[in-house]
Amino acid sequence: MRKQADLLFQIVSLATLIVALGALGALVYDIFHDGASRLSWSFLSNIASRNAAEAGVYHALMGSIWVIALTGALALPTGVGAAIYLEEYGSRSRIARFIELNISNLAAVPSIIYGLLGLGLFVRLMGMGQSVIAGAATLALLALPVVILSTREALRTVPNSIREGSYALGATKWQTIWNQVLPMALPGVLTGLILALSRAIGETAPLITIGALTYIPFAPDSIWSKFTVLPIQVFNWVSRPQADFKANAAAGILVLLALLLSMNAVAIVVRDRSQRRGRA
């Protein structure tokens, strides 16, 4: 009796896992089924259009790449700087504890709230308008907690003997960090950055909130350009009643997922190469 209950429980638990994985399978199937036939070279190179069959994602793809590149450029130095401070300088002080608590709370603030912050601070108060730079600054704040957490883990894997050796040769604290610790931690830092950016690239709500447009027929040409991004274009197409636009949305999702997967692949390669180098 007890044995049977145990077996039953095991089967039910396993079944839940299979249901969850099955739902993921259904999602992937649904999107391929709806969107794969719409994918073509012209879909990638055309811009938005009122005619579903002629519409493409070029402008949105370029917008996403601009925003993400700039987000990375903003989040990398600040995130790494914050992590170095918390890990190498002030890890035991009370203020560092407070900052840590604050970061872990920030990581769980809904992304749309960051959008309201971006709207009030970057778009209006700092007068950036609804530009690529305002969007990137908003997403950088959103990505910051992830970058800080992963950088701290990477710094923690650097053995203390490296630091002590450097000090013994007369290097200062910053010289030690810059010449010894950071280069060793770099692969971990980059992996964390890419993962943070691959989350940011799928973000829709904060960019809608700061006023990124849903219909914009050109790719950005400077950081002050107005812009749209892939997920917003997908949202725009999903919201239309016509089936043709739904197919466009599915195809847009495929492009977005391809972008995401290639970013993750880069992260895996970076981690892999560093592991091999570490062993040699």
Partner: protein, 292 residues
């Protein structure tokens, strides 16, 4: 010279770290400022207890309850899916599965958490809703049920991975003691491991609830834009987040009261999620101490 440089660098690094505190302060300042302006025109009692939300109509009412109830409804459905399934998945991964199986399944589950939410919205609207309509013909095209279920799927990995971490932190000795008394793995899991990991599991649940409340794109796509005070999951509703998206997409001029509503709603959303996050952090800290 070197010493000055070292001093400057340390200050700069400190500024980077302090940026996160400034972010929190900025969020609170921006929300509080606009909410204050909003509350000068709408009494706080009307905002918090009113049952009609029609700020964009000619006949304006600013009662936020329909949005709050809509948010709660979708989140509750999501939790009904994610809690039992996430917990069972965590029990299986932590107590039953061979480690090879876990190494394969965990990353795949993690994919669920990495899928952009706009993709889930598409899935809810074009796949799950039509599927449900076959079983419930009265289900309307926009509803709370379908986005709720899909949101449950989205937060499931969060629940399962945090719960599993909590269960694996339970000392092996407790399990061995239970087995020695003749308990089966199920009895050990449910009566020893889960209770021992209780505060960690609760922290995971609360964090999941906070994620569900703040989730935006799934509901903006699949739940509709009709603020409605109802517990009926079959009809269109509107959540707090979906309302902010709706206004952001329109051309409401800034400085108007309609415009300020999104900051007031955002403030409420922020307070709700921030409160939940604080409780969750506190529970996790406590859990860490128990088995330190």
């Amino acid at each position: 010279m070197t010493r000055t440089l070292e001093w400057i660098i340390e200050r700069l690094l400190f500024l980077c770290a302090a940026l996160s505190v400034l972010t929190t302060a900025g969020i609170i300042a921006v929300l509080a400022l606009e909410t204050y302006e909003f509350l000068r025109e709408v009494p706080i009692l009307e905002f918090l207890t009113g049952t009609e939300w029609t700020p964009l109509f000619a006949n304006r009412h600013f009662g936020v309850l329909p949005l709050v109830v809509g948010t709660m409804l979708v989140s509750a459905i999501a939790m009904v899916v994610a809690l039992p399934m996430g917990l069972l998945a965590a029990v299986y991964l932590s107590e039953y599965s061979p480690s090879g199986f876990r190494r394969v399944v965990k990353p795949v589950l993690e994919i669920l958490a990495g899928v952009p939410t706009v993709v889930y919205g598409y899935f809810a609207l074009t796949f799950v809703t039509p599927l449900l309509q076959r079983f419930f013909p009265s289900l309307s095209g926009f509803n709370a049920l379908s986005p709720g279920l899909v949101m449950g799927l989205m937060i499931l990995p969060l629940v399962s991975s945090l719960s599993e971490d909590a269960m694996r932190a339970v000392p092996q000795g407790l399990r061995e003691g239970s087995y020695a008394l003749g308990a089966t793995r199920m009895q050990t899991a449910l009566k020893v491991v889960v209770p021992a990991a209780f505060s960690g599991i609760t922290a995971a649940f609360i964090l999941a609830a906070s994620r569900a409340i703040g989730e935006t794109m799934i509901v903006a796509i699949a739940a509709g834009q009709q603020p409605r005070l109802t517990a009926n999951p079959f009809v269109p509703i509107e959540t707090m987040t979906a309302y902010i998206v709706q206004v952001s997409l329109g051309d409401t001029p800034q400085g108007t009261i309609e415009y300020r509503t999104i900051f007031a709603v955002g403030m409420l959303l922020f307070l709700m999620t921030f409160g939940l996050n604080l409780v969750s952090t506190w529970l996790r800290e406590r859990f860490r101490e128990e088995y330190a």
